[in-house]
Symmetry: C2
Subunit: 341 residues, 2 copies
Amino acid sequence: MAVQDRQQVTIYEVAQRVGVSIATVSRALRGTDYVAPETRRRVLAAVEELQFRPSRLGQSLAEGRHAANGIVFPDLSGPYYSEVVLGYEEVAAELGNSVLILATHGRPDPSRKVLELARRVDGMVVMGRTVADDVVAQVAEIGVPTVLLARAAVGALDTITADNDTSARQLVEHLLEHGYQRFAYLGDPDSSPDVTDRYRAFREALTDAGRKPPRSPVRCAFDVDAGHRAARRALAGSPRPQVLVCANDEVALGAMAAAAEQGLTVPADVAITGWDDVMAARYAGLTTVHQPMRELGATAARWLQDRMAGSQAAVRREVLPTRLVVRTSCGPHDAEKEVRG
Amino acid sequence: MAVQDRQQVTIYEVAQRVGVSIATVSRALRGTDYVAPETRRRVLAAVEELQFRPSRLGQSLAEGRHAANGIVFPDLSGPYYSEVVLGYEEVAAELGNSVLILATHGRPDPSRKVLELARRVDGMVVMGRTVADDVVAQVAEIGVPTVLLARAAVGALDTITADNDTSARQLVEHLLEHGYQRFAYLGDPDSSPDVTDRYRAFREALTDAGRKPPRSPVRCAFDVDAGHRAARRALAGSPRPQVLVCANDEVALGAMAAAAEQGLTVPADVAITGWDDVMAARYAGLTTVHQPMRELGATAARWLQDRMAGSQAAVRREVLPTRLVVRTSCGPHDAEKEVRG
DNA sequence: GGGGCCACTGTAAGCGCTTCCGGAAGCCGG
DNA sequence: CCGGCTTCCGGAAGCGCTTACAGTGGCCCC
């Protein structure tokens, strides 16, 4: 009742109440060893009566584990990261782990924070361009199982990514079939490993097809607003690009708005493509690349669990397949269809 | 080097190495008491050399605090929750707390999970319709400072919400000025306290203006897809509603797509409004209500900090102002402007 | 009837830290 | 020269739990 009653009831009080040792209480509670049914009953009754809840701290210290794992990501704005984190949290929770989050975006000294996080979890996943490789290596060396997500492999760590290469090539091929000549790329290849790959594959595909890729990307951040501004810049170019290949769907959505504002129709005057296949993309008729975001997170959580359980299996590297989703924003088709790859 | 070297170096090893007691090491590390400069230097050198990092568990147990706080929310899909969580995490991290997340959406037994979370944090915020009031009360009674976010007050807990009433009224008034007669409401008033309020205020405003509110809402979940389906249903009604007032922006975005599919132009054939003012709303020309999402989260984190610091100040209740943002989806205006409220 | 096993329980040793308390020097002023 | 203050440091008591180890009866079986 009293507010200042922060004094938690401990296992000692329960033991005293029942007239047994704390060991017995612990055993009765965890069902880990023989306890007479009658004793157990009395213990549970006392627990109920006193509203005893074992201290997580005491438990963890004794068990030597946190029963928690962490995830560090750059940001949470935009559906992409949210979905990944959600997929991760869902599985981690199912596996009995609490999840600690850490957003590095724009924070001073992310390395310190990551190392700090590493000390409160039994394992963690590190996403994208959040901290340098040596920090990841350090975390791993401390002995905290780590899996990398949407980021280049570091040392002997499990790594899961989505396929950017294949889809980028498919995308370019598809666009070339439309007969487009002048391509612009909207997005910052330095912003995330995914975008780095996409941009590289985009250029390669163009080169392989005997076309000249754009001199440089139109750099912009990962949001609708940035995409909007970048598209304005791109469309001001002369000759005007025929296609805006955008690093993700937010950027593409912004680009579509920018095109509309300039009186350009998509795809007649300019084709636009995105990446990720967020829900809004469908309604915008955006041609994009579908990514299994939830699954990325979920898989990371499962792999992490294996490592935390002590698995010494070979390093896992997996590239989840993506899928080109053709809608209307890239040009007219006989019928709207989804090309699978 | 060895992988199985999970054995962390402890404060004892450092102490032994330097030839002092663990007490001295602790003091040198935390700078909490007198330590001879030379001793400190040697301790720090040993710490560096052994790569000693104090165990968070040991520290927490001794200090009696977790240095962490939690946030429970229904879901992370859609920009709304993400933004709130991000605002929260940002401030919490600044204040030196790690943050634990818990998504209740669709999980069995959220109460147990929430109670569990409560035992690993020094304080937590509970958002929206995640768990019943009695669970919140229980958490508070355990002695875990709690602040409520976007949810009706429970007991003597700090509560922060966004203003739904005023904005709903402004929205309705604005729509009435357009001369609309037939209103439909898309969203599930039972899905979240915010929507409950919005729907109620929406009806009241209509009634107050001498209009008859719709018999019932067109119930749908909180995403674009659900909004799309709900709008299709709503638009099939006869006579067709002139306005679709949507519970949030995702729903409205879905509704806009549905209208377009049916060959209806917005706002000429049907006006559509949203709620939240997510980034995409701007580019869709969506009239909506701006919510300070980041700030909701940030404020919650700050209040929580006060309570964790032991503040016994009076219960805080704050309703953050929202702002009607008039764009094109509600009807033609002389010039696009933003009406502030 | 006694040895052995099984079911049950208590004792106590940690887990890795923080911090109270008290002792030991060193230093200063009277 | 001595009392008292300041500075520095070690001992040890927790913090709240888990679990290895060591019993102690009771029962069964030969």
